[in-house]
Every structure is written in C-alpha cells, then in structure tokens.
Amino acid sequence: MIKEWVCGKPRLWRDRPTALPFCPGCQHSVGVRTVLETIEELGLEGKTIFLGGGGCVYPIPTMLDLDGMQCPQGRASSIGSALKRIHGREAIIIVYQDDNDGLAVGTEPLIHAALRGDPVTVIMANNASYGSTGWQMAPAGNQIIPPEMEKPNPSIPINIIELLAEFEGVSYLARGTVSSPEDFEDTKRYVRTAIQKQIAGAGFNLVEILLACPTRWHLTPRESLKWIREEMAGKLPLGEFKGGGGI
C-alpha cells in the first residue's frame, strides 16, 4: 500500500514551529488559502506580489513564499496601484486587506484605485471587526454585529460592492464566504476570475470574503459560521455582482 499525498498546508505557506498567530476559529488563513491555491494552480507564484494590510492580516506576508510587503494601515491598494504601473503585465498584484484596514482609513486609496481602474486584485477579508487592535467594530460591521454589543454611534455598514459597482474602471466584483467547503469553492472561483481579469488587464477587481471572527463576536466558531450565513449574508448578499461569467 502506498500513502499518496492529496492536499494539506498550501505549498506557498512557509513552515512555522508554533500555531499561527490567529485566534481559534479565525478564518483569515482560510481566506488566504483561496488566494494561494489559485496562484499555485495558475502558475503565477513567480510573478505575484502579495500586499498585506494592517490589523490581524499584518503578519501574513511574512509567512508566504511570495514577494510581499507589510503595508501601512489602509494604504495597501495605493501601493498596489503604484506597483502595477511599474511592472504592468509582468507582475500580479494581490492586495489582502482586513475590512478595518480597507474600509476605514483605506477608503480613499480603495475608491480612487477603482476610479483609476488600476488592474489590481483586492481581497477584502471582512470580519466586521478591528481584530488585533482591540476588536472594536469596523465600518463594515456596525449594525450587523452580534446584538449584545451596544453601539455608541451606529452607522450603516459600508457595502463596498455597491459603492464600487458604478465605477467604469471596475471590471469584477464578487462576495463570498468560506463558511463551508462549498462556499470555499465558490469563493475560490471568484478569486480565480478576478485574477484572470487582472491578467487580461480588464481593470480594478475586488472579491469580498465574509470571515468568522469568533473572539470578537463572542460566539463559538460553529455559531460564527451559522451567524455569517444567516445574519451577515442577509445584509451583505453573496454572488458575482459585476463582470461575472468568465472574462
């Protein structure tokens, strides 16, 4: 009998002696897996530049065997736009931002990268919280955060897909979750389409991934996934919203 390897830790993820710096049940690493597997399948690892934002995603670039940068809070999409202009088709730019990073201080870079139509792929990992900074509420999570959090100044959660849908420079917008293997495959398909749009130079593309953050939501990992499907996906609907169905 032969033991043949099927799947496991993504090849582009460097070995590390201890547990990842993420809380139990945090799905940031699952969101990154969708990106890493797609890059491996499309054979782009030699051309990819991975830009990580601030907050919980800050240590991710140090753990990848890809050219990468730990960008200042909220500025990853600006730095990505600039890198894309220098390297053009030679490089694939992936911006992996937490929603506290991309939708708070990072709104100006995000919106204007979309307005300019810079062909970069932004993965907006939305867990509705500030994560390592102290788990305050992030702009995408204000009203839809689990009920028992009293909210000093509730504001409408930013639906980034609606915000960017009208811009001409935006070629692809989709939102998925990783709260089940089927959702994982859907989201991976969205990420793949987004990267193919970037290869074709078709303009700015963004995939929002709704992720569990059990620690901030004060829910168990299981309840968090159920909560995403029932509550979060209710206010932030899933699917492809612009430029779906291939290039």
């Binding site: 009998m1 032969i2 033991k3 043949e4 390897w5 099927v6 799947c7 496991g8 830790k9 993504p10 993820w13 002696p17 201890t18 547990a19 990842l20 993420f22 809380c23 139990p24 049940g25 945090c26 799905q27 940031h28 690493s29 699952v30 897996r33 990783v178 089940s180 293997p181 994982f184 059990p214 168990t220 990992p221 299981r222 996934l225």
Partner: protein, 82 residues
C-alpha cells in the same frame, strides 16, 4: 475498491476550533475531551479512520493548516508503508 484515505493532524498547531469535525461528511474527526495541547486547547482526533476517503473538506476548512490528507493506493509514487 472504494477510495481509502487517511489524515494526519499536527497537534502542535491545532487549536480545537471544531471546523474539521463539523465539515467531515463521514464524521471521522472528533474534538477530544481528554487530549489538550500545551496551551490548553482541546485537540482534534482522527477518531473513525475507517470511513475516510481523503475528500479534503477538513483540510481546506482548517484555519491552522494543521491537517494533511493522504490516499492509500496499491502502487504509485507515494511513501511505501507496511
């Protein structure tokens, strides 16, 4: 003959979140009540290996990348076992 699979869980990195137990279609994995890692998190255990067909659901849902899945085949380029 049906696909025969096997998984290896790295106990140094598993934090017992329970996603693998939730999503294994054949309920082969269980969060143990006795085994804990040094930080005190309960560990996932490959409790019922007989039904595993290495579908990889547990692998892709594991946030700690702690699970490796293997297929048990008669020949092939994999590692020779007993």
């Amino acid at each position: 003959m049906a696909r025969k699979g096997e998984i290896v869980i790295d106990e140094g990195t598993c934090l017992g979140c329970g996603y693998c137990e939730l999503f294994c279609p054949k309920e082969c994995i269980e969060i143990s009540k006795e085994k804990f890692n040094p930080l005190g998190y309960p560990l996932a255990v490959f409790s019922r290996p007989e039904d595993c067909n290495a579908c990889g659901s547990c692998v892709i849902m594991c946030p700690q990348f702690a699970i490796e899945a293997y297929l048990l085949v008669n020949k092939g380029k994999g590692k020779e076992i007993s």
